[in-house]
C-alpha cells in the first residue's frame, strides 16, 4: 500500500540553525506513529511540516500522494484543510466562540457550517452537555476534546497531535488517549508528538529524533 507520508532528506533551518536534518520517514495509511525526543530535537518542526503549517528548507515531502514541499500559499492552505486535522498541546480554541462554534468554525472554513454535525462530533467526545460553553468555562481536558472534535469534523485523512496530553491531568489524559485509540481503530492515520514513553507506548511505532536527526525506529508493544 502507498505510504500516506513519505519524507526524503527533509530539512528545516531557522536563521541558520538546522532544526531538522535530512530526515527520511514513511508512514503507512492507518498507522499510529509516535515521535519522541528531547526538547529542541525537532519533533514539533517535523509535525508542522507534515501538517503543512510550514515549508521545508530542503528535501521532499509527500502527503497523501501530493508533494506538499512544492505547494505554497493558497494551495498549501487548501491541502491542509482537506487532508489534515490538528490537535495542539495548548488547544488553541477561539476564546469568544462556544465549544459548538469552535467546531463549526472549522466546517465554515472547509465548506459549510452544519450545526447538527458539529453537535454530533462534540457528543462523540463526551461534550454533548457543554456545547454552549466558552473555552474559559471548560476544563483543560474538555478543551482538548473540543480541539479533537474540531480536528475530526472535516474527516481528514491524517490526524496530527502535538503533545495532546501535555497539559492534562491523569484522568483527562486517559480520556483523550481513549479517543485517539478509538480514532486509530476506526482507521485514521495518527502521528503524535510526545515525550511521554507511556503515551508513545500506545502507538504502533515510535521514531526518535535527536538534534534534528532521526535516531531509530522502534516497534512498540501495540504495533
Amino acid at each position: 500500500m502507498e505510504p500516506i507520508i513519505t519524507a526524503h532528506a527533509l530539512t528545516k533551518r531557522y536563521n541558520g540553525t538546522t532544526a531538522l536534518d535530512r530526515v527520511d520517514l514513511t508512514v503507512a495509511p492507518g498507522e499510529w506513529l509516535a515521535i519522541m525526543g528531547p526538547s529542541g530535537s525537532g519533533k514539533t518542526t517535523l509535525l508542522n511540516l507534515i501538517g503543512c503549517l510550514d515549508l521545508p528548507s530542503e528535501g521532499k515531502l509527500l502527503v497523501a500522494g501530493t508533494e506538499v514541499s512544492r505547494l505554497s500559499g493558497k494551495d498549501l492552505t487548501r491541502f491542509r484543510r482537506e487532508t489534515v486535522g490538528l490537535v495542539f498541546q495548548q488547544f488553541y480554541l477561539v476564546p469568544y466562540l462556544t465549544a459548538l462554534e469552535n467546531v463549526m468554525l472549522a466546517q465554515y472554513f472547509h465548506s459549510i457550517a452544519d450545526e447538527a454535525e458539529a453537535r454530533q462530533a462534540l457528543d462523540e467526545v463526551g461534550l454533548g452537555g457543554r456545547l454552549r460553553h466558552l473555552p474559559s468555562q471548560l476544563s483543560g481536558g474538555e478543551q482538548q476534546r473540543v480541539c479533537i472534535a474540531r480536528a475530526l469534523i472535516n474527516e481528514p485523512k491524517l490526524v496530527l497531535a502535538d503533545e495532546p496530553t501535555g497539559n492534562l491531568d491523569r484522568a483527562n489524559e486517559d480520556l483523550v488517549l481513549g479517543l485517539f485509540k478509538r480514532l486509530h481503530e476506526q482507521g485514521h492515520t495518527v502521528v503524535m508528538v510526545t515525550h511521554d514513553p507511556e503515551v508513545a507506548g500506545l502507538a504502533q511505532r515510535t521514531v526518535h529524533l535527536d538534534h534534528g536527526r532521526l535516531a531509530e525506529a522502534v516497534p512498540t508493544a501495540s504495533g
Binding site: Y92, V94, L97, F109
Partner: protein, 445 residues
C-alpha cells in the same frame, strides 16, 4: 456563520470593542459637528454681518453733479432728484426678497438747530408696511406670481442699524412719519446742552419746525453729530412733498466666488440666457443689485464696498479656518481610530494563526476581520453622527446664539469616513498577521 462569528466577536469582547467603538464615535461626531459647522458657518456669518448694517446704497440715477460728503448730500433737496419712498415696499417683491433684511430711506439737509448749522436727517425709525394679497412677486427672470397672502414687514433704522444705542427712548407715534419727535447725536447733544425731553428748533430756507428730543443717539460714527427726525418732518423742512435722497439696504448675499465657475467674473451682458437665469437666481451681490434696479426704475444700486469686501474676506477667512480645524481634528481622530484598530488586530494575531491552522485561507480571515471592522465603523459612524448633530447644535448655540442646521446630507460622508478609517486602520496589521505563517504566530504565543 459569518454573522454568528461577527455577533460573538463584537458581543463577547465588549471592553476591547467598546474602546474601538468609542474612538470611531468620537471621530464621527467631531467630523459631523465640524463639517456641519464649517458648511453652515458661512451662511451664519453672512447673517451675523448683516447685523452690522447696510451693504447696499440706493440713489436716484442722475447725471447732475451733487455735493456729497460722507454719503450726505449737501445739494438742497429741491435741486436734486429724489427717490419716492412710497415705492420702497417693492424691495420685498424681488426674487431674493427674503434676503432683504432691512432698509431705510434718508433725506438730509443742513439746517440751523438752536442757531448752529447741523445736519438734520429724516428717516424711518420703525416703519410698518403691508404687502397685500395679490401683489406681484418676481419668481424668475421676467416671471411674476401673485402673493398668496397679505404679509407685514417692518423697515427703518432701528432694524437696519441694531447697534445704535438710544439713551431715553426711540421717537414714537403712529407711523412715525407724522411725529414731532426726534433723536439727537450724543456729540451734538453735549455741544448744545440738550437732554431727553428738551425741544429743539430747526430752521431751513425760511421754514421752521420744533421737535421734542426723546433720546440721545450713540453710534460711534458721524451720526452722533446729527439730528434724526421722521422723514415727513425733514421733507416739510426741505419744502418737498415726498422723497428721499438715498436708501440703505441690508441684504444677505454670498461672495461672488460661490457662483458656478463659468459665471465668475462674467458680466451679465455677456451671459447666455441660461447662464443669466442661473446668475439671477444666485444670491450674489450683482444679481441682488440688478433686481433692486428692476424693482425701482430710475435708481442706481451699488454695494457699499468697504462692508461687502470686508464681509467677503472675513467670511472666507472664517471658512478657511473652520476647514483647517476640521481637517486637523479629522486627521487626529482618524489616527486615533487607526491606532485602536491596529492594536485590536495585533492583539488577535494568535486568533488569526489558529484560524489559518484549522484551514482558513487568507481571504476568509480578511473577510472576517474586515467585516468586523466595517461593522464597527458603520455603527460608530452612525452613533457619532447623532452625537455630532447634538454637538453642532450646542456649538452653534454657544458661538452664534442659535442652533445651526446640519443636514442629513452629511450622513453618507460621515459613514464613509468612519468605514474608511476603521478599514484602513485594520488593513495594515491584518496583512502583516495574515502573511505570517501560522506556526510562527502560534509559537510566539
Amino acid at each position: 456563520m459569518l454573522l454568528r462569528i461577527l455577533r460573538e466577536a463584537l458581543g463577547r469582547r465588549r471592553r476591547r470593542v467598546a474602546l474601538a467603538f468609542l474612538a470611531i464615535l468620537l471621530a464621527a461626531s467631531l467630523s459631523t459637528a465640524l463639517l456641519g459647522l464649517s458648511t453652515s458657518v458661512l451662511e451664519r456669518m453672512s447673517q451675523e454681518l448683516r447685523a452690522y448694517g447696510a451693504n447696499i446704497l440706493v440713489t436716484p440715477r442722475s447725471e447732475a453733479v451733487r455735493l456729497e460728503i460722507g454719503d450726505i448730500s449737501y445739494t438742497p433737496p429741491t435741486q436734486q432728484p429724489l427717490l419716492d419712498e412710497t415705492d420702497l415696499h417693492k424691495l420685498k417683491t424681488i426674487f431674493w426678497r427674503n434676503n432683504i433684511r432691512g432698509f431705510a430711506p434718508f433725506l438730509s439737509l443742513v439746517a440751523s438747530v438752536n442757531g448752529e448749522p447741523v445736519v438734520v436727517t429724516g428717516t424711518w425709525f420703525e416703519h410698518r408696511f403691508t404687502l397685500a394679497r395679490g401683489t406681484r412677486l418676481t419668481t424668475n427672470v421676467g416671471l411674476e406670481a401673485a402673493a398668496r397672502a397679505t404679509q407685514e414687514y417692518v423697515a427703518g433704522v432701528k432694524g437696519l442699524s441694531p447697534w445704535w444705542r438710544v439713551q431715553g427712548r426711540w421717537p414714537a407715534g403712529p407711523g412715525d412719519g407724522m411725529g414731532n419727535e426726534g433723536l439727537i447725536g450724543s456729540t451734538l447733544a453735549n455741544k448744545l446742552g440738550v437732554q431727553p425731553g428738551d425741544t429743539i428748533n430747526m430752521q431751513y430756507a425760511g421754514r421752521s419746525r420744533t421737535v421734542e428730543v426723546t433720546g440721545i443717539l450713540s453710534t460711534g460714527g458721524l451720526e452722533e453729530q446729527q439730528v434724526f427726525v421722521p422723514l415727513a418732518t425733514a421733507q416739510e423742512l426741505a419744502g418737498v412733498a415726498q422723497g428721499s435722497s438715498r436708501v440703505l439696504v441690508s441684504a444677505l448675499v454670498l461672495p461672488e466666488d460661490k457662483l458656478v465657475g463659468e459665471l465668475r467674473g462674467k458680466s451679465p451682458d455677456e451671459m447666455t440666457p441660461e447662464q443669466y437665469e442661473v446668475w439671477y437666481c444666485s444670491p450674489v451681490m450683482g444679481s441682488v443689485l440688478r433686481q433692486i434696479e428692476e424693482a425701482l426704475p430710475g435708481v442706481q444700486a451699488r454695494p457699499i464696498l468697504q462692508v461687502s469686501q470686508a464681509e467677503a474676506s472675513f467670511a472666507s477667512r472664517i471658512q478657511l479656518m473652520a476647514l483647517i480645524i476640521t481637517l486637523v481634528a479629522l486627521g487626529a481622530s482618524a489616527l486615533a481610530v487607526m491606532t485602536t484598530m491596529t492594536t485590536l488586530v495585533l492583539e488577535r494575531r494568535r486568533e488569526i494563526a489558529i484560524m489559518k491552522a484549522i484551514g482558513a485561507d487568507d481571504a476568509q480571515v480578511a473577510v472576517l476581520f474586515l467585516t468586523e471592522a466595517g461593522a464597527l465603523g458603520l455603527l460608530g459612524g452612525l452613533a457619532g453622527y447623532g452625537l455630532g448633530l447634538a454637538l453642532a447644535r450646542l456649538l452653534g448655540v454657544w458661538v452664534f446664539g442659535h442652533a445651526l442646521p446640519v443636514g442629513l446630507d452629511l450622513l453618507p460622508l460621515v459613514l464613509l469616513l468612519s468605514l474608511a478609517v476603521a478599514l484602513l486602520g485594520s488593513l495594515g496589521p491584518l496583512r502583516q498577521a495574515i502573511g505570517t505563517p501560522p506556526v510562527y504566530a502560534l509559537r510566539g504565543n
